[in-house]
């Protein structure tokens, strides 16, 4: 149960943290259609995060931060709003500060392709709640990946400027893909087969890059340090800043009703 909870927190935090970055785009997108689409993706991910954090809390109530006696804050919000950065288990790619629209497209392509590969396999997970969450998520993530894939090709083949920006964005995102391919013990034991996921991620990216006629950037992955990675609670400097903003109202009112 502890492992299952831990796994749900990982997947939930990926969704929660990246949804927060996507929601920062609201009213800032290149056009109304993209503004709506990005909000939609953020909404889907918030929904996934809620289900997964709730499942995690049910599997192991011990992981839910304790709040003052009588606090009406539900478990999903206790987890989202009352953990410090070091207790988050998302991959670091999810938390990086936003760049330009090309950065959004590249990061979304990578994260949604990876997550879709995971969810497609979790549909058959022995835990029926996770299987149901995955079944719903597969539809959502297919849309996210399509949106990112279409824009990836558009930017690659649009103007010189858009291709230049796309390549710069890839150079920033690629070094963090290694973390997606390095499963923790919990993921290997409770989750879908990491080797299959990695294969599918690589296939999908290769296919999109080929359609877009783009080569992978010549960058090296960020090294593993004794400190560990996002899955171990070792994050970039960006996460605690993001959480300061995300959690400020909730933390000011631990007894609040919303």
């Amino acid at each position: 149960a502890a492992e299952l909870a831990s796994y749900c927190v990982m997947l939930g935090d990926d969704a929660l943290v990246y949804a927060q970055r996507l929601s920062e785009w609201t009213s800032r997108a290149p056009d109304l259609e993209e503004d709506i689409a990005i909000a939609n993706i953020a909404l889907d991910l918030v929904g996934q995060a809620r289900l997964l954090l709730t499942r995690a809390a049910a599997a192991d109530p011990g992981i839910v931060p304790s709040l003052p006696e009588g606090s009406p804050v539900p478990a999903e919000d206790a987890l989202a709003y009352f953990r410090d950065a070091g207790d988050f288990r998302n991959v670091r790619l999810a938390e990086l500060p936003n760049g330009d629209f090309a950065e959004l497209v590249v990061r979304l392509l990578v994260l949604s392709s990876w997550r879709l590969a995971i969810f497609q396999r979790l549909v058959a997970h022995p835990d029926p709640v996770i299987a149901a969450i995955a079944a719903k998520g597969v539809k959502e993530l297919s849309y996210h990946r399509d949106f990112a894939g279409r824009w990836f090709v558009t930017l690659a083949q649009g103007t010189e400027e858009s291709r230049r920006r796309l390549e710069a964005a890839m150079a920033g995102v690629w070094p963090l893909i290694g973390e997606l391919k390095s499963p923790t013990a919990v993921e290997s034991s409770v989750g879908a087969d990491p080797a299959q996921i990695t294969d599918e991620l690589e296939d999908v990216l290769a296919q999109v890059l080929s359609v877009a006629d783009v080569t992978p950037p010549d960058v090296r992955p960020i090294a593993v340090t004794r400190g560990g990675t996002g899955r171990d609670g070792m994050h970039t400097e960006a996460l605690s800043r993001m959480l300061a903003e995300m959690q400020v109202v909730a933390r000011a009112h631990p007894m609040g009703q919303w």
Partner: protein, 314 residues
């Protein structure tokens, strides 16, 4: 189209209006009617787009995941409303890009309410309750407006805004059941938004030169003061149920009129904000300008890509 032909066309137009039927984009319409409509629908569309900012300001700080989802969806709906309304305007022969430039250059306005800042999460609820509430009062009659695409867009907009209004009221109701600090937040927010909400109906009828013509054309169906009265009468019992005080010492029920008497908003403030000197006018336009500028390369790339696809298919 020559002058000779215009007489019967104008007659047909006026008959349609008189019958309370819809004018459609392909129908003949007087130039002034078209211009008035463009101005009004565009202003409405701009209001939706600029209106994303004050509430959008709190998405990243929403205090629960449920509220974050609700607020994201609401701001997304506003973008959607902007989209339909720009489309309605496009049937009158102006492009969205054109209208965006007019917004950014200040030649077209948006609702002044969005030039006030949002200073606490309670403002999300208050905007739903009071600002969307006032907007609905203004807009429900527009569902019967004479121009077809506008009327149909308004039906959809009004439906969604009623939903937003209920959500806003429900947030405030929930907060009022919470802690003392939360109740104080709600009251403080209502204190700030009450008067600007009343100003949303526009200046007093005596100072509203366009009202009469718009009413004749069936673009507008009630005067500013009528709508304001209706809003106050509708809102007072809601405030009571909520447990907040509306910040107007002159507000009381008038048994004779079967309506509430109420104080007068600060019209000097109203005109200052309309003229661009409100607390957030510069900020709102600068934000939109930045998004527009930063998106330019993306829109260009999309066009270049689309052109290439067309070429390849030829």
């Amino acid at each position: 189209m020559t002058v000779v032909e215009e007489a019967p066309l104008e007659e047909a137009f006026e008959q349609t209006i008189a019958r309370n039927d819809r004018i459609e984009p392909r129908d003949w319409m007087p130039d002034d009617y078209r211009k008035t409509l463009i101005r009004q629908i565009a202003q409405h569309a701009h209001s939706e787009i600029i209106g994303m900012q004050p509430e959008g300001n709190w998405i990243t700080r929403a205090p629960s995941l449920r509220r974050k989802a609700v607020l994201l969806a609401k701001v997304q709906d506003e973008a959607g409303h902007g989209l339909y309304l720009y489309s309605a305007t496009e049937t009158l022969g102006v492009s969205r890009d054109d209208l965006t430039r007019r917004l950014l250059s200040g030649t077209q306005k948006y609702s002044s309410i969005f030039n006030y800042p949002t200073l606490s999460y309670a403002d999300v609820g208050t905007i739903g309750w009071l600002v969307d509430g006032a907007a609905i009062c203004n807009q429900v009659p527009l569902c019967r407006t004479s121009f077809g695409p506008y009327g149909r867009a308004m039906i959809r907009v009004c439906k969604e805004e009623s939903f937003h209004q209920r959500q806003g009221y429900e947030l405030l109701m929930t907060m009022m059941r919470g802690t003392d600090e939360q109740r104080a937040m709600v009251q403080e927010s209502v204190d700030r938004f009450w008067w600007p909400a009343l100003m949303m109906f526009g200046p007093p009828d005596g100072d509203s030169p366009n009202t009469e013509r718009s009413m004749t054309w069936g673009i507008k169906r009630h005067t500013n003061d009528e709508l304001r009265q209706k809003f106050v009468d509708m809102t007072v019992p809601q405030a009571k149920a909520l447990g907040v005080t509306l910040p107007d010492p002159e507000l009381r029920w008038n048994d004779e009129r079967q309506a509430h008497d109420f104080g007068s908003p600060d019209w000097e403030e109203f005109w200052q904000v309309v003229k661009g000197n409100g607390p957030c006018n510069a900020q709102r336009l600068a934000h939109r300008q930045r998004a527009y500028d930063e998106g330019a390369w993306v829109r260009e790339a999309a066009m270049a890509y689309a052109d290439r696809q067309v070429d390849e298919n030829v």
